[in-house]
Symmetry: C2
Subunit: 215 residues, 2 copies
């Protein structure tokens, strides 16, 4: 009831029945729920409650909980995937390519901070079943290639591209995954504020670029 009723009232929209809007509402609520709890521990009841539509609509549009989960995974990743694939990094120097890649990656996750949590749950609970099938691994492959190029040309120090790619992804994404623990620091800053996200991006890029550069 909550969101939909409010939206309709404030916008004075007549359309009470809108299949697409309802699906979008469910997907948004589901992304939150799955991000926090993962597939198994997520409750369809809770998702329905967040949207304000009846629980049965989940089954009407997405068949079952797993269908909804798949939809959320695809929807969450598509933006990141598209962005990284469109980067056109081949003509840049390894260092410039790396910076461009990291900027794009950090920008994506800053705008969709739930994504790393979802990835994490998929990795830990479902052993990355989805990634096995999907093309999501191509993100990391792009990074590995940059690093390979950089070590080959001598722009980067002698590092293992595979291991380093993992560690670099960790530097970028850990902030979002560890949020729940991090926020208990005395600091008491809002970790998802625009300023903090911006700072995190800058710090991560600086750390990584300095970390791979030849000494």
């Amino acid at each position: 009831m909550a969101r939909r009723a409010k939206a309709e009232k404030s916008l004075n929209v007549k359309q009470v029945r809108d299949a697409e809007a309802t699906q979008a509402l469910i997907l948004a609520a589901a992304q939150e729920e799955f991000a926090q709890h993962g597939l198994t521990a997520a409750r369809t009841e809770a998702i329905a409650a967040k949207t304000g539509v009846a629980k049965s609509m989940i089954y009407y549009y997405f068949k079952d909980k797993e269908g909804l989960y798949q939809a959320v995974l695809e929807r969450s990743h598509s933006n990141l995937l598209q962005t990284t694939l469109q980067l056109d990094l081949a003509h840049l120097s390894p260092e410039a390519a790396l910076e461009k890649f990291l900027t794009a990656l950090l920008n994506c996750v800053s705008h969709n901070p739930k994504l790393p949590m979802i990835m994490f749950h998929e990795a830990v609970q479902n052993q990355g079943q989805y990634y096995k099938r999907s093309s999501s691994l191509s993100i990391d492959r792009t990074l590995v290639e940059i690093l390979e190029r950089g070590t080959a040309t001598g722009a980067f120090r002698q590092l293992d591209p595979f291991q380093s790619a993992i560690n670099i992804m960790g530097t970028c994404l850990f902030y979002f995954i560890g949020m729940g623990n991090i926020k208990h620091y005395p600091q008491g800053k809002r970790l998802l504020s625009k300023a903090m996200l911006e700072q995190h991006s800058q710090e991560a890029i600086a750390l990584i670029l300095a970390g791979v550069r030849k000494v």
Copy 2:
């Protein structure tokens, strides 16, 4: 039945009833289950099945699922906590202190690769409730202090100690968290083999030390 029976047979032990051994067995199985599934999605039935003792023993020794969860958290963290607190880093240069800290941290998690997963279920699902109460945050505080000292003395470049501490932890721990996804890479290496763990530690330390050093 499985493990216990086998152990007794091979060791020819008479003692079929051993409160401590049973608790240890349960804790070990629970650690695995909670690492993979988190508190809510973990199944007491599954834990019992792994141990070979009746499910009711969980309730006998740990009161309920949450009691067992708490016990697992405490047990899993104690080693890491003790190790990092005993390091005595004050008399070392920032760079040496950082290297010593990272070596200890990576050594700990390499010997207990489930720990990062548990930490992050706690962060994501339970919003770090446990860390709020426990002294686990002191690990990160240690790291922040090293970084503060390094920037103050000019040994490290101008970085934000808080943000960088998070990013550094990410570099060290992401490998273990992302395992489920990472393993689908063409490489096809065993990520938990001694050689790979050793390589990860070296690569992570190298990346971080290079990343913080003054240019």
